[in-house]
């Protein structure tokens, strides 16, 4: 990718035209800050962080005094656009009804970073706050000029200002019905005061429980997701995807399908491994698909990077990357030290967002309009453009609220397929994936294998920590399946350069451990892997926090005390979370029979501190095991909207239970064996524990919450099972048989 900075697709003029507001209003336009990906380059997700000045282009003052916010984050239920809108409102002294928050089309803003990694608040707080504050001060200047008073005499008031003599002036009074484009601030412009950073008592909006404006549409059935999009003259398409990973088309026989009524066109392109069709009505799609006979072929057996692979690498000591090391980790055991070893395994997992993806694409006159829900509309734009040989700026992607994302919606193949079909028939085409498509054709969380040898001294201090991990590269993984097969020579170079940062997320524990060595062996697999909630954080946390519990038991020390004793001194915030959660759960209190209690903690991406306690209950009559209560204390700094954060934390706790008890993908010969919810089970209502969430009051920088609390849940549950039964759980998911079997 080029570092060369060029305008990324949106010129000021096209912005003004496309957004349709050019006739009126006041805004600032900036087209800065993102490396331009040329059409000759492969389509890549947008991974560049926002710059402090980028916010200018996202906020617009309308002539009626309302604010339009082109939110540079996609919405999948995490509510980032609500939190960011609250920041805008704080700066501009407006209420929720005065701000309209839009998911921008790709033509309405410059490229912004993919909505991944729980970064929407931590990385966008500053640009958004600063831009809104600057707009406020620009308006204040206008008020002073218009009223011919000194700038300092223009005081804040809700929705505007108050002038000397108690004269009110609204923002609307200051915005004429002509377009005013604020210049991009120069680097030496004075920084306005950011109200979002004021003392807690002075803040008006941040910390309030605003309700997401989409909720009314959601509970009444009017919220539009990509599956719900209808455009005039729309027809219905489907693409027959390889039944097995890596399969290629050998032969296509369409003779039985061609006479079917309502079939408009069959689109074949063997070179592109493409066979699809378009129908006049959606009800005949299955029948046509069954009538088209496609012979597929695949040479290669797709191998998963499974436990056997990991054990082989372990045997040959083939760990090319030392992720962290200190002291002498491989020394002989010292006097009075106890050694503990454990091998931990977590299986591949599927996102199973409740909405199977869909896209509607209208190609005509050399332009393409795309409607889809994606975590990276600009990535979809690039990929659609490539699929039909258009330039990026001939493709406009309309962004819709997603029915779940969880890392699994960077690409929208349904939109690419719809684009090819629409280009062939020059009418809008809808393509919708089935649940089975999601389970077979998306990318997955890779399996993780961990081997940890550790020692603890008689005082309960960890003296050695040798941790070897085998898994697939996550961040550099997707390239191999998103239409750009990477040669082995390329992947071997990529893997040689360094350990994959996504796979390694959370691998360095928060404990002091003076002598440690953490190594990683990348095991590329034929199974497509990619971003999944938390990336490596939860599998890595499972291994680390399980071993910590094993060490505490070996040293005969309470697992809470053991953690507090071994935490690095710099981790006071994690210690505080541990103490808070232990108070909440009354740690150390007596438990009824067949019940166990476990604890675990983690720091997510060096920013969010989470401690979890889980109670489990084993029902020997029903032969079930379940989490009954989960307590969670989290320190995520300043909280923009506590209601939203509590909801996300609870969702993470449920996800963690689901990981612990339910989820596992297996592949046989490149075919996903769990193709729907009967075989790929996720946690259900009846299995949901009671949840108790406490957010630690903090004025530190607001950090990510969308994935943070997930990691410690599974190890807390596994540790609770050990507490109840004396059996260690080192493989997920957990079955009753593993716990009670002989």
């Amino acid at each position: 990718m080029s570092d060369h900075k060029k305008p990324s697709g949106v010129t000021r003029r096209t912005f003004l035209r496309r957004t349709g507001w050019a006739a009126v209003g006041l805004t600032a336009i900036a087209v800065v800050g993102y490396p331009y990906v040329g059409t000759a380059m492969p389509a890549l997700p947008s991974f560049s962080n926002p710059q402090i000045g980028d916010g200018w282009a996202w906020i617009q003052m309308l002539p009626d005094g309302r604010i339009r916010f082109y939110c540079p984050r996609m919405e999948m239920g995490q509510g980032a656009n609500l939190g960011l809108a609250q920041i805008v409102a704080e700066e501009l002294n407006v209420g929720q009804n005065d701000i309209e928050c839009l998911l921008p089309d790709t033509s309405q803003t410059a490229v912004f970073k993919a909505t991944v990694g729980s970064e929407s608040i931590v990385k966008f707080f500053q640009p958004v706050s600063l831009a809104a504050a600057r707009l406020r001060e620009e308006l204040r200047l206008r008020a002073a000029r218009q009223a011919r008073v000194k700038l300092a005499e223009v005081k804040d008031r809700d929705g505007g200002f108050i002038l000397p003599g108690a004269v009110n002036i609204t923002y609307g009074d200051l915005v004429q019905k002509t377009a005013i484009v604020l210049p991009e601030p120069s680097s030496d412009s004075a920084m306005p005061m950011q109200y979002a950073l004021r003392d807690a008592q002075a803040r008006q909006t941040i910390g309030q429980r605003w309700r997401h404006p989409d909720l009314h549409g959601i509970v009444t059935g009017t919220q539009v997701y990509s599956r719900d999009v209808v455009v005039p003259d729309m027809v219905y398409g489907r693409v027959m995807r390889p039944p097995k990973i890596g399969a290629r088309i050998v032969k296509i026989d369409t003779s039985r399908a061609e006479p079917l009524p309502d079939l408009i066109k069959i689109v074949e392109d063997k070179a592109q491994n493409f066979i699809g069709f378009v129908c006049d009505n959606p009800f005949i799609l299955d029948e046509v698909a069954e009538a088209i006979e496609v012979t597929w072929h695949s040479n290669e057996d797709v191998f998963p990077a499974d436990r056997e692979t990991a054990e082989m690498l372990r045997e040959t000591n083939a760990f090319p990357h030392v992720v962290a090391s200190n002291g002498e980790a491989v020394d002989e055991s010292g006097e009075g030290e106890i050694s503990v070893s454990g091998a931990y395994f977590t299986p591949p997992a599927a996102h199973t967002a409740m909405e199977p993806r869909a896209g509607v694409v209208s190609v005509s006159n050399g332009k393409a309009e795309v409607w889809c829900g994606s975590q990276d509309s600009f990535f979809v734009q690039q990929r659609v453009a490539k699929a039909i040989g258009f330039k990026n700026d001939a493709v406009n992607v309309h962004s819709l609220r997603m029915g779940g994302g969880f890392g699994g919606r960077l690409a929208c193949w349904a939109s690419e397929d719809a684009a090819v079909l629409s280009n062939a028939v020059q009418r809008p085409v809808r393509v919708q994936w089935s649940r089975e498509d999601e389970q077979q054709h998306n990318y997955f969380q890779p399996p993780f294998s961990h081997f940890i040898d550790a020692r603890v001294d008689s005082a309960g201090i960890i003296t050695r920590w040798n941790h070897d991990c085998v898994s697939a590269p996550i961040i550099t993984g997707p390239f191999s399946f998103m239409g750009m097969p990477l040669a082995d020579t390329v992947t071997s170079v990529v893997d040689w350069i360094g350990p994959d940062k996504g796979t390694m997320r959370g691998i360095v524990s928060p404990y002091a451990m003076p002598n440690h060595r953490i190594r990683f062996a990348p095991a590329r697999t034929g199974i497509p892997v990619g971003a999944f909630r938390g990336l490596g954080a939860a599998p890595n946390s499972f291994a680390i926090e399980s071993m910590i519990d094993e060490l505490a038991f070996a040293a005969k020390i309470d697992p809470l005390k053991f953690r507090l004793d071994n935490l690095s001194r710099s981790n006071a915030r994690l210690a505080a979370a541990l103490k808070r959660v232990s108070d909440m759960a009354d740690w150390g209190s007596d438990l009824p029979g067949n019940t166990g209690r476990g604890i675990a903690c983690a720091i997510y991406k060096d920013m969010t501190y989470v401690a979890v306690i889980a109670d489990i209950y084993i029902d020997h009559d029903a032969q079930t095991i379940s989490a009954t209560n989960i307590w969670c204390a989290q320190d995520c700094g300043l909280i923009i909207n506590p209601d939203q954060v509590e909801n996300l934390v609870s969702g993470n706790l449920i996800w963690g239970c689901s990981m612990a008890f339910k989820e596992k993908m297996t592949f046989a010969n490149g075919i996903a064996q769990e193709d729907n919810f009967h075989s790929y089970e996720i946690l259900r209502h009846g299995e949901a524990p009671a949840m108790h969430v406490s957010l630690i009051d903090s004025q530190a920088i607001a950090t990510g919450v969308g994935e943070a609390a997930f990691g410690p849940v599974a190890p807390a549950i596994a540790n609770a099972i050990f507490n109840a039964t004396g059996r260690r759980i080192r493989n997920l998911p957990i079955n009753y048989e593993d716990v009670a079997g002989t």
Binding site: L215, F283, M354, G403, R435, S650, F677, L683, H685, A688
Partner: protein, 158 residues
């Protein structure tokens, strides 16, 4: 011509659509998009509607099999409860901001409303049992269960 009553309106089932599911009929023939497709095999509950007041998976129901019956979807739920405004279950959902992504919530609400119609004051285990077929990947189960309790306290159910 067979027909169904959809949210109080009679709708004919044309000959050529007699083999489609109630879900496809509602979404792609009528054009009401509030009822969602999640799995297609009745395992996730996103497509839940009321058939003569009983929660049913519309993805597993052939439209001709409910000819002559009354179908309520999320769009028509509010009018099944007397008074202006939303149904008490929808009100409770908003009161404690249940949804995250929101995609499964129409089905959750329809299941919850059917539960309360039959059992106005459900126990926790009754709630969990009735709602067990409605999956939520965002993990809003705790709030859903709480919202059902709130709705049960609505004077409408007394």
């Amino acid at each position: 011509v067979p027909s169904i009553t959809l949210n109080g309106r009679s709708v004919d089932i044309p000959d050529h659509l007699e083999n489609i599911t109630l879900l496809d009929f509602i979404r792609d023939h009528i054009g009401l998009k509030g009822t969602k497709f999640g799995c297609g095999i009745g395992l996730c509950g996103a497509c839940t509607v009321h058939v003569d007041g009983v929660a049913q998976r519309s993805c597993l129901t052939q439209v001709v099999d409910v000819a002559g019956q009354g179908i309520t979807t999320i769009e028509g739920l509010a009018v099944t409860a007397p008074g202006a405004g939303l149904h008490p279950v929808q009100e409770a959902w908003l009161e404690i901001s249940v949804p995250q992504c929101g995609y499964c919530q129409a089905g959750q609400i329809m299941s919850a409303a059917a539960l309360l119609a039959k059992t106005p004051n459900p126990s926790t285990s009754q709630i969990k049992q009735q709602m067990n077929g409605n999956l939520c990947r965002c993990g809003t189960y705790g709030r859903i269960q709480k919202a059902i309790t709130i709705a049960a306290g609505n004077p409408y159910y007394e």
